[in-house]
Symmetry: C2
Subunit: 407 residues, 2 copies
DNA sequence: AAAGTTCGTTGGACCGAACAACAATCCTCA
DNA sequence: TGAGGATTGTTGTTCGGTCCAACGAACTTT
């Protein structure tokens, strides 16, 4: 019972849509489920499940599988349902700090192909669009000919307006009010559903569905890159705000007497724990973002200069924990190695400032999907419509993508 | 399509439940609706609406009304539906700083009776429970004999665990881990559904449904009392967090070098803009909370000492605006007169620190329900079950409350 | 090998919303 | 003032989707 706008009544057509969608989502989440399990989880009758499975099968969204090998208890074993190999897929794009990564991701969340290319600093949007389009062509070229392309999802390090996918402000890329979705579609001369999202939001989404926070409905994904942002899921719903800018915790005032920030304010949290601060502490030149990542990843014991940053990370996290009362906080981006190296400093900083009950409820952790969180989150976003309405989404999909993109 | 737990399928019984509930909610929201309007808003067929209205009518939840007086256009005028005078009601309790207010609130959100009593400082929970029980008896005694009591809602200035309504920590009252719901029910020797909620959360709820933020799905109600707390609604859903502690923005670190706070940290926002800070600026003795309220309410031009506090209020609000990207921020409690007096200082402080796009999207405003926001929010919380499942909720209601409570 | 258990399938029952036709009520215009 | 148009409520029917019961299939247990 999710998805429809509030205040609206439900007709039986909507019921069917919803049931088809949630069934598909269950298969997507666990990659293979027995039909018996589905009846239990969805609370519907065996025969109803049979009908739903049948319809999704004829649509080509799922296929039958032999019963699971390990038995538990007596009785006839239940037939499995799974995602077909040559089934529907999406294209996920991750616009990172200095690289663009593109992947073809099948329903079920498996990465089939991937490709990436560097993005030089100060590149204009249409150039990046062309690069991304080339990567998409590469990745789609190898797909089965009759597999439908459901859509494209793009993760952006910046403020994205949810309603139309406009990139309001992406400081790393130097972009303002860029309609990147249209640019990519134009470069491909293709018309498929395309969605854009903030990288932290999408990290939260994928970790919620496939990562550490599976089955956890209140979590925060904290992305530490040049900027600091939080993707928040509460009660199973993504926190958006009215325009999609919610979770911009990087510009919370950490110290009113601190350094000026590019946002116009001073002492923002990200001036203390952002990539520039980390790079300075490690004596890495500010313009070599890639080297900073590898330096941190290869480090096994923390440099002394890192510890104060970790403490400030924890202290700032207190604001996140107090406001959202999450069950899990996932530390992504540069915070991943930082937390690995200085776990105790981070937790100490947090306990220092967080309210006791909220602090007791939260667990800090690393991303379960490692560096693919954001990329897979973009895929999940692109999959969203097919769970809301499988039939309609499939009707809007492109079935001959390889041929079209080759021409 | 709301309410059911995620991942669950929908059967037709659930459809009926949902449609009955949302229809009732529409009548509740607007106190009188024409059936034609209902068909439009709910997107259902005329005949379906007729069936739903009929069922709710026989349940005694709504009644027919003569068509609206003002005509618009040709055609047969549509018959109205409204809440009956002697219909179902709830009891709302607002545990304020020094007073407890209790009201009998009918479906539709109208206050039928109200009563209040002072709560001396350092009163124990069972004593407060007895006081509240007495007030409830007073208020219920006058209700129509056959009107069903649906439940009780209690607003508490403190951290409330949503799952079981336990008051984890209420600094004003000096309570820790108090099961106030059970205490009240025991004092009444009654068994009805009772729910507890944070005062700011409930202020947000009522302002969302009946106040300034009607039809606005992203809002923050900021409650300024002894403590500072935020009730947040995003995407139409209340922000709860895993245990219900979300929105505790009063203890965000406003200045690391600030005064120590009772929470153990230092420089918390509420040490700067909380009641104690305001009282100090106005030279009101710290223990006379009631006088502080009247002093502020009667003030027509701001005292000079108030301005810096208003500025800090705005600066701290930037954190709220950046993290939640709300469409409206409602300033309740002592912030109501403060904002009325020093509007420009507050907005200046906000623009100083908030991100531009988020700041452009937000509007600061006063509560539309004045001082009754929290009380009515408690009522709304108590009504919630009847919208989720009218039939079940009515079955759990008490029909002879006056007699039972008199005995 | 027989009994018990669990699952998939099938046909019918049930429930609720949609639909179509008709009556009721009001507005507008001649 | 009366006819026509428009909109709504009502009623009987249809349609769609889930539930239910019975049966056969497949596997475990004794």
């Amino acid at each position: 019972m999710t998805g429809a706008q509030r205040g609206t009544g439900t007709n039986q057509e909507a019921v069917r849509r919803h049931n088809l969608g949630t069934l598909l989502r269950h298969v997507h989440d666990t990659s293979e489920v027995s039909r018996a399990e589905l009846t239990g989880r969805m609370g519907l009758n065996r025969s109803t499940i049979a009908g739903l499975v049948g319809e999704l099968d004829t649509l080509g969204l799922i296929e039958h599988a032999s019963p699971a090998t390990e038995r538990r208890g007596a009785g006839r074993p239940s037939a499995g349902v799974r995602i077909p190999e040559d089934g529907p897929y999406v294209v996920a794009v991750d616009l990172g700090v200095d690289h663009a990564t593109v992947a073809r991701v099948g329903l079920g969340g498996t990465i089939r192909e991937r490709a990436s290319a560097p993005i030089p600093e100060e590149t204009e949007a249409w150039q990046v669009g062309a690069t991304v389009a080339t990567l998409i062509r590469q990745v789609v070229a190898l797909s089965p000919t009759d597999a439908p392309l459901l859509g494209i999802g793009v993760a952006v390090p910046g403020l994205v307006r949810r309603s139309d996918g406009l990139i309001r402000h992406a400081p790393n890329l130097g972009w303002h009010d860029v309609s990147f979705g249209s640019i990519v579609l134009a470069a491909l001369s293709l018309d498929v559903p395309i969605g854009l999202g903030n990288d932290a939001d999408l990290g939260a989404l994928s970790e919620h569905r496939r990562g550490t926070a599976k089955k956890i409905d209140d979590l925060v994904y904290l992305s530490g890159n040049v900027g600091v942002g939080a993707g928040v899921i509460t009660g199973g719903h993504r926190l958006e705000g009215v325009a999609g800018y919610a979770g911009e915790v990087g510009h919370l005032c950490h110290d009113p007497r601190g350094l000026p920030c590019h946002c116009g304010s001073r002492g923002c949290w990200e001036t203390v724990v952002g990539a520039h601060a980390i790079a300075e502490a490690l004596d890495v030149p500010a313009d070599q973002a890639a080297r900073l990542g590898t330096t941190l990843d290869e480090m096994t014991t923390p440099v002394r200069e890192l510890r104060p940053i970790a403490t400030e990370l924890g202290r700032g996290l207190a604001a996140v924990v107090n406001t959202f009362n999450p069950s899990v906080v996932i530390l992504g981006g540069y915070f991943r190695p930082l937390f690995r190296l200085c776990r105790s400093e981070v937790t100490a900083g947090l306990t220092e400032r967080a309210l006791r009950p909220a602090n007791e409820a939260v667990r800090l952790t690393l991303p379960g999907l490692a560096k693919d969180s954001v990329l897979l989150g973009a895929a999940e976003m692109a999959f969203e419509p097919v769970f809301a309405d499988p039939v309609a989404s499939l009707a809007a999909a492109v079935t001959d993508a390889p041929a079209r993109l080759a021409g």
